[in-house]
């Protein structure tokens, strides 16, 4: 059975480790968990008018992965394309999981990688939910 692709849009988040976690989690989904179902879209390409990126997000479901509560990825998709199917905010998950120890933003340490894997699992579950709902 052919399933429609789901777009994962990660915040760039160069300022903080939550941004690095959102990017690594997205890559884990793309490479390991859902290589045939997930694609990624460059967030800044939306703003410079890249038609392919905007059209994809208009026609296919998207999941926004944001590092912080500013939710740039979610807001960018909804500004330039359409409503997101799901929104995940890493800083909120860290709070929920009571994770206080921060990893370096340049290269995640062991704990940071474990957190990124957990975030990837959340994305995986969100994709299951979307497919189950017929999105």
């Amino acid at each position: 059975m052919i399933t429609p692709k789901i777009g994962i849009v990660s915040c760039s988040g160069e300022c903080c480790v939550e941004g690095t976690i959102s990017r690594i989690a997205t890559r884990v989904v793309l490479e390991r968990l859902r290589p045939h179902d997930a694609v990624t879209i460059c967030l800044p390409l939306f703003s410079i008018g890249e038609k392919g990126e905007r059209m994809f997000a208009k026609n296919f479901p998207t999941i926004a992965i944001d590092g912080c509560e500013k939710r740039c990825a979610k807001n960018a998709i909804e500004k330039y394309s359409g409503k997101t199917a799901c929104s995940i905010v890493v800083s909120e998950l860290l709070k929920k999981w009571a994770i206080k120890k921060k990893s370096p933003r340049r290269e995640l340490n062991k704990e940071g990688l474990e957190v990124a894997t957990k975030v990837a699992d959340e994305i995986d579950t969100a994709m299951d939910t979307l497919y189950a709902g017929g999105k």
């Binding site: 990660s10 160069e14 300022c15 460059c42 340049r106």
Partner: protein
């Protein structure tokens, strides 16, 4: 010391080039020119965040793009930033054809080499802007 120069990398995660642009930026900001430079989330500029726009208008900025789309440079220009230089990973790759970076999530050896070359070029530009001449 003068205000820090803001290094704004591309945020692409589809290819290794975006990872190289970010790694080179972190290398400059956290090691080579620590204290003289800082970085900023490109996505904040994309969304027109007022604080981010104020920062790039009042500080010198360097765009570090991965591909010819030049999202970092274009978003800085759209935000009326004080852009003093821009780099592209594709250009660094063209000058170093023997290097073939592949891995995206975690840079491989060639990706790290390209990142180092790029970081040194950015650091040199920082020195030029701070009137310190060329220091490697």
């Amino acid at each position: 010391m003068s205000d820090p120069i803001l290094i704004v990398p591309c945020s692409g995660i589809g290819k290794s080039f975006g990872t190289i642009s970010r790694d080179a930026t972190y290398c400059v900001v956290e090691e080579l020119r620590k204290g003289e430079t800082d970085t900023l989330c490109l996505s904040l500029l994309v969304m027109g965040d007022e604080d981010a726009r104020r920062l790039v208008k009042s500080h010198r900025c360097i765009a570090v793009d991965s591909c010819p789309n030049e999202c970092a440079k274009k978003n800085l220009v759209l935000s009326d930033a004080k852009l003093i230089a821009n780099f592209r990973v594709v250009d660094i790759l063209r000058d170093n054809r023997g290097l073939k970076p592949n891995d995206v999530t975690f840079l491989d050896e060639d990706g790290r080499k390209l990142s180092k070359i790029l970081a040194e070029k950015i650091a040199t530009k920082v020195d030029e802007s701070n009137n310190k001449g060329v220091i490697s």
